[in-house]
């Protein structure tokens, strides 16, 4: 492997540092290397061109760091899995970089370093990326689990030096697919030889998926004693506890914040603190989240809305109104944002006893809701405002729409439950959401029963209506597609119906690319579709 054939991108906010590292890179053969001085420039460059490797300084100035950049580009899939990412850091940044949880760099290098060391490390990670390419090509935006798993097994059989990395990817794939017992066996096999943080946490995740949360909790607690720096362990434990013991989950996130202060973790803490009615802690956390990031890349209306709530729950009315105003000032103006701001302001005014202003704000938010499609968080904010303004029926109507559409999305359902809880309607909320869930199951079951009893057309009508109303509900879309395919199979090829089935499978894929029933529907389509019918691009 020759570095002279590779294209690199160097990111550092200090010009002198860029020059030094640029000279070092040139001396080891990497002549083709672009430079960026901040996240914005780096993203522009990434959008234009493919890079084989990125060398990024941890400290990027203006409250931004290389870890935030890495998380952003990996999450938004701007950076292919095959691009190598090397973080350079001073000793102070080292603790932060080495603790990165979900998105970690391929390697990191402590300053000062020689050109030779830089070269050795770059060659090493590029060789690793190239060796794992057969797996990576099936991952990313369009993950094909079956092919990715097969590629893992292929590489494992070859007994390369990367076996442990391959097992790590394979474990993640199995967990993502819900194949808990296979994942558990894989982690046990690794742990028999040696302990390593990711396999311990992987095993705990497999235990949770396997339905053994108590054993998982003990394992995670022991793992954090042995590896107190391993953030993924805190995240896994907090995620487990959030279902049963929110104050304990908040404690775990507090511990993780001692290890690494990140904006995302402050958000997690703030959200738990709100659930635990610890509003002053929530205010502190969200204030950090909105103040920290001066680049504006990671700003979200959710942070401002939560900050406003933390304030007005403590009767800090001017602070709450300021948070709502800041939301409008620091983010791009869209109808959605205006609706969000109005919904937040409505709740602040209610709290301050200003009913007239509250009604006006709510009317504004509701108008936006009727005229355009809003995102889940804005919808739920409007529902919250409806509860506050004494319009519970309106609130429930909105929540029902959201809950039906996002039935299988635990995060959204939890957020919906949070709206009831904030309105002091814990039990009613639990019952309401449970009924919504049962209704959706009934709809699917009824349709299946109709189809079985020979009334396939009735089933199709029902499912198609639901799938068109609920674009984010993958289960409904899959069932609609399957009913249509069954009809084609029974009564001969009908291109319109086949086209509809194609559309619903694509819709399901967009909503939930890892849905367990999706693969079956895709296979069914491919079996039924005659040559010349539209190919499925999933």
């Amino acid at each position: 492997m020759q570095l002279s054939e590779k294209v690199g991108l160097l990111i550092d906010d200090i010009a002198a540092m860029r020059t030094t590292v640029r000279i070092q890179l040139a001396s080891i053969g990497l002549e083709k290397c672009d430079q960026a001085r901040d996240i914005k420039e780096a993203i522009e460059k990434l959008n234009l061109k493919h890079y084989d490797l990125i060398v990024c300084d941890y400290n990027l100035g203006k409250g931004a760091d290389g870890q935030q950049f890495l998380e952003l580009v990996r999450r938004k899939q701007l950076l292919p899995m095959t691009t190598a990412f090397l973080m350079i850091t001073g000793e102070t940044g080292y603790q932060q970089v080495s603790t990165a949880a979900e998105y970690s760099p391929d390697d990191y290098l402590l300053k000062p370093f020689t050109a030779e060391t830089l070269g050795t490390r770059l060659v090493r990670i590029i060789e690793k990326k190239e060796a794992l390419q057969p797996i990576y090509q099936h991952m990313g935006a369009k993950t094909d689990f079956t092919k990715a798993l097969a590629a893992c097994d292929d590489l494992l059989a070859k007994k390369t030096r990367y076996s442990l990395e391959v097992l790590r990817i394979k474990g993640d794939l199995l967990l993502g697919k819900g194949r808990a017992s296979e994942a558990l066996a894989l982690y046990d096999e690794i742990l028999k030889e040696r302990s390593t943080p990711w396999a311990e946490v992987g095993k705990a995740q497999a235990l949770i998926a396997y339905g053994n949360p108590d054993e998982a909790r003990i394992l995670l607690e022991q793992t954090l004693v042995a590896y107190p720096n391993y953030l993924a362990g805190y995240d896994a434990l907090a995620n487990l506890l959030v279902k049963t013991d929110k104050p304990a989950a908040q404690q775990v996130v507090e511990q993780a914040l001692h290890v690494a202060m990140t904006t995302q973790r402050q958000r997690d803490l703030g959200s738990l603190a709100i659930s635990n009615k610890d509003f002053s802690r929530a205010e502190e956390a969200y204030r950090y989240a909105v103040d920290r990031d001066r680049t504006g890349f990671f700003k979200s209306p959710d942070d401002y809305a939560a900050l406003a709530r933390s304030c007005f729950e403590q009767d800090k009315i001017p602070e709450a109104l300021n948070a709502a105003k800041d939301m409008a000032q620091h983010l791009p103006r869209t109808p959605e944002l205006a609706a969000r701001q109005a919904a937040v302001e409505c709740q602040v005014h209610i709290r301050a006893g200003d009913e007239k202003a509250a009604k006006a704000a709510l009317a504004k938010a509701q108008a936006a809701q009727k005229s355009s499609k809003l995102d889940v968080n804005t919808m739920l904010e409007i529902a919250q405002a409806c509860f506050a303004a004494g319009e519970p029926d309106e609130a429930k109507k909105i929540i029902q729409d959201v809950a039906e559409d996002h039935q299988e999305n635990e995060q959204v359902i939890n957020a919906a439950r949070g709206v009831f809880e904030a309105a002091g309607l814990d039990e009613e909320g639990a019952e309401f959401l449970d009924n919504t869930r049962k209704n959706m199951i009934r709809l699917n079951n009824d349709a299946v029963a109709l189809a079985k009893s020979g009334e396939l057309d009735k089933a199709i009508t029902m499912l198609v209506e639901a799938a068109d109303r609920l674009p984010n509900n993958a289960q409904v879309a899959i069932n609609a597609a399957q009913a249509l395919l069954m009809r084609v199979q029974q009564q001969g090829v009908d291109m319109t119906q086949l086209g509809q089935a194609h559309r619903y499978i694509t819709q399901a894929y967009r909503a939930h690319p890892t849905h367990p029933k999706l693969e079956g529907a895709v296979a069914y389509y491919r079996k039924i579709a005659p040559p010349g019918a539209r190919q499925l691009e999933v």
Partner: protein, 229 residues
Amino acid sequence: MDTLVAAAIHDAKNALSSLGVWLDEAQRECDPQHKSAAMLQAKTITALLSSQLVELLALYRAGEGNLRLAVEDQHLGDFLAELMAELAASRPMESNGTTAVASPIAIDTDFAFAEQNVAWAFDAYLVKFVLLDALRNALRHAKQRIHFSIAAEPGGGIRFSVADDGTGYPPETLNNETSSAMSKKSSGLGLSFARLIAARHATPSGHHGRLELSNDGLNGGARVSLILP
């Protein structure tokens, strides 16, 4: 979060690292051909101070309850190659009158275990300091030879071992009497650091690392072993 003391140790370490750069520059300005023994001494002491500060920082953080290891999978082959390269780059030379010459001590290695593509999880940064310290110490005390090896530890774990053919440890050191070590030339900082880093390596099932000192090195010389769980 780091306190003032930790930040001050940091600053001192950064200052030392630029001192090292200036010493190189001074050597070049004087006479690039003739390796000055005095300059070499100065460089060696700078490097020693720098690693002592890293060790001090780790001990300080441990005392404050803030030392957390960054345990990650390491390919043992890569790790040892980097370690040996770093040792070679900073290997103390001997002075021959006013001229510096390479030290004649040979380092034999047995890395057969590492060459089987074994990866192990540990804090590479801190373990590297422990091992460099042990190797430099052996270079100071060895007569002719040093043996550096890695092997699987029976019952689980790995063992790094550095043995020399010097006179061995004094009995006080073997008996772990730190006070007497203090009264000698060495403060015992390196040893305390090595013990700390060994002990802090642990697994969820409760196995801990440890440091073993003995005089069964080459011809009764010293042997130090770092066992990681």
